[in-house]
């Protein structure tokens, strides 16, 4: 053990560089993980943080709120299904707004006041209850969506005034406005005066007391043909883009984690091969294999420990210094899970080095010319 620590002390630069390199790679993993979590929240936060725990889309929408259009009469039909407590229309559209003199793509969600579909993460102000009022995503205050600000559609000039702010409630990674269904209709007609009607995109539902969202969704699906009734969490996970983003990031994350394990494994293997003669001599003068393996594991743990500290420090610096439009939030549980996987795989990576250490034959010390042996 003493020897392992002494070696690190004498080769601080070598071990320091390795810990730094692995720290950077682990930072890459942590940062991408944080980015993924934040991106998914920005994709579907508005769906996740609205009050309807069941959402009913048209069957041809293929689980996309943007592609869904339902008949206004569907709201009453859904409300009449056993197990449904409350039902209300939910409209969604991406419109061009002018805020701070700039054209901005904005996702607009419209729901009737007091009905399902209201934002649940209100952090400031109040809900929109009157025509021309809106609750905006707090992440976009700097873009001209603060309380008291007024924004207008680029075409038609229909105006809304921000009266409240939500958190983690964006849709499609865009500034998001929660408005009343009347306001939604006004905004849609301003953007396209030729529209013959503005039907809801979906029906938002709160199940009756004692009925779970799953049971309510099943009851709606059984009672009304041609619709796709899903629980809120199903609607979030099956939203278009979510699975492709998840799988793309999974590949990058998997690759980065594999690289960490590979780099750690190869580095210690090279070290072991370089030190074979010294390790053979130590073994020959009485150091058991377990002592040598413990020394190796101590070095690996120290390098990984320093690397993790470097990675976490870099992550906090990156998140606090991030100026991108995406609000980055660190998920401690995900970090701990990733760190555990990285440590486990890295230890697996050094398994070959351990095997080489265990395989060392003390007798080779007397035949190794470099150690004064004869052959």
């Amino acid at each position: 053990m003493l020897l392992a620590r002494a070696e690190i002390k004498r080769a601080r630069l070598r071990f320091g560089l390795l810990a730094g390199a692995i720290g950077l790679l682990i930072f890459l993993v942590f940062f991408q993980q944080t980015l993924l979590g934040s991106l998914l929240t920005s994709f579907t936060g508005a769906l996740e943080h609205q009050s309807g725990t069941v959402l009913v889309y048209s069957a041809d929408a293929r689980k996309s709120l943007e592609a869904s259009v339902v008949s206004p009469t569907l709201v009453d039909r859904v409300a009449a299904v056993d197990g449904v407590g409350q039902a209300g229309p939910l409209g969604e559209a991406t419109l061009t707004f002018v805020a701070k003199g700039q054209q901005v793509d904005v996702a607009v969600l419209g729901a009737e006041p007091g009905k399902p579909g209201q934002p649940t993460n209100l952090v400031k102000g109040r809900l929109a209850t009157a025509p021309g009022e809106a609750v905006a995503s707090s992440e976009d205050v700097g873009k001209g969506f603060g309380i008291g600000d007024t924004v207008a559609t680029a075409s038609g000039g229909a105006k809304v005034t921000i009266v409240g702010l939500t958190e983690r409630s964006q849709f499609s990674v865009q500034p998001t406005l929660f408005v009343t269904f009347d306001t939604y209709e006004t905004l849609r007609r301003a953007a396209n005066p030729d529209a013959t009607s503005v039907p809801p995109s979906a029906v938002a539902v709160i199940p009756a007391k004692g009925v779970s969202p799953r049971e309510a969704a099943d009851a709606i699906a059984a009672a009304i043909p041609g619709v796709d009734a899903m629980t809120r969490s199903e609607a979030v996970t099956s939203a278009p883009g979510v699975s492709s983003v998840q799988s793309s990031f999974a590949i990058v994350l998997g690759l980065a984690i594999a690289v960490v394990a590979l780099v750690t494994g190869f580095f210690f293997l090279i070290l072991t091969v370089q030190k074979t003669a010294a390790l053979t001599l130590l073994h020959a003068i009485g150091a058991p294999a377990s002592y040598l393996v413990r020394g190796l594991l101590q070095q690996v743990s120290l390098v990984l420990g320093v690397a993790l500290v470097v990675a976490i420090a870099l992550l906090y610096a990156a998140v606090s210094g991030s100026s991108s439009g995406l609000a980055l939030t660190i998920d401690p549980t995900a970090l701990v899970t990733s760190a555990a996987i990285i440590v486990a795989l890295s230890l697996l990576g050094v398994a070959f080095s351990i095997w080489r250490v265990v395989r060392i034959e003390p007798v080779e010390a007397v035949s190794h010319q470099g150690l004064g042996g004869v052959e």
């Binding site: 293929r62 396209n192 580095f267």
Partner: protein
Amino acid sequence: MRIALTELRRRPARFAPALVALMLLTLLLLVLGGLLDGLYNGSTGALRAQPGELLTYSSDAKLSLVRSRIDAATAAEVAKAPGVEQVGGLGVVLLGAKVPDRAEEASVALFGYQLAPRGVPSPPQHTGDVYADRSLRAHGVKLGQTLLLGPNRYPVAVIGWVSDTNFLLQGGLWGNVETWRKAVESARPDAVLAPGTFQALTVVVSPGSKPTEVAAAIDAATGGTTHTVTRSFAVDSLPGLAQQRTTFNAIIFTTFFVAALVVALFFALLTLERTTMYAVFKAVGASSRQIFAQVLSQAVVIALLSFALGAVLALAATFVIPPQVPLQLTQARAVEVVVGLVVMSVAGSVLSLRRVVRVDPASAIG
């Protein structure tokens, strides 16, 4: 060189770890590249096929085809702008399509067009007839079938096939303007446009005119109510496309980096283990250059072998992956991968150069 190849032939197991790692990385690179190409082509085909060099949107649409509206009066202004030879209206609606005998709906983009895109015949004479993109065959679409579009099941009949005309990963259907208007009326009453109004215009520029100058002239002629861009700019402005390309390229470059790392570490280890052998070679007259050439040739051979095996696996994967997944393996991508892999292998093996140069021939004799 011959010794290096002989070693590869006689002791293949020694090189197996690097070969397997690079083979898997090749598979990953080809599949990722194929997905990127498939996603790009599947998203942009309809715009790339447009006959005009320019596309005109309304200025408040932020280059979104779905949100753009160009009325008849504006279209007439565009047609009169200097340098404009021909103008055609274009409209699209994204819908789900019920295919006969299929439980799952197909995602389609129904276009109404006035000027025929590349590879698409002139607009069908009968309302309700459409040309379908061949990719829809993976969803069970057949010639002569009637597809039912949207929640109100507007029927369209498939009268022919076209290629590479998809839009935002939805299968392209190409009908006359009336077919598009009726489908919108049926499925998306909130997106209905007045007669004569289109979502965008495809603009053919007169011979000798510069497209960017004509675009500026069009926007000036309409008093800034339009935003005219080149076809390639319109393609690159499709939502999510740039981010998609950036993400995939980041993964691909990371994978190439990993390949270089694998080769570097593998040959560093191999060189370390063969120090004595290299010392003997040097003692009998071999130069560092000759020895390093051996390392390089082994790295290149391993890269090429890995690519060949990885490519076979990637081809096999195309038979297993469902046809709905937009995977397109192209020769250009394969060439990029093999060149990248060889370059990265050479770069990785260069790290062993210092160690080879430092081998002392005297150590061969103790």
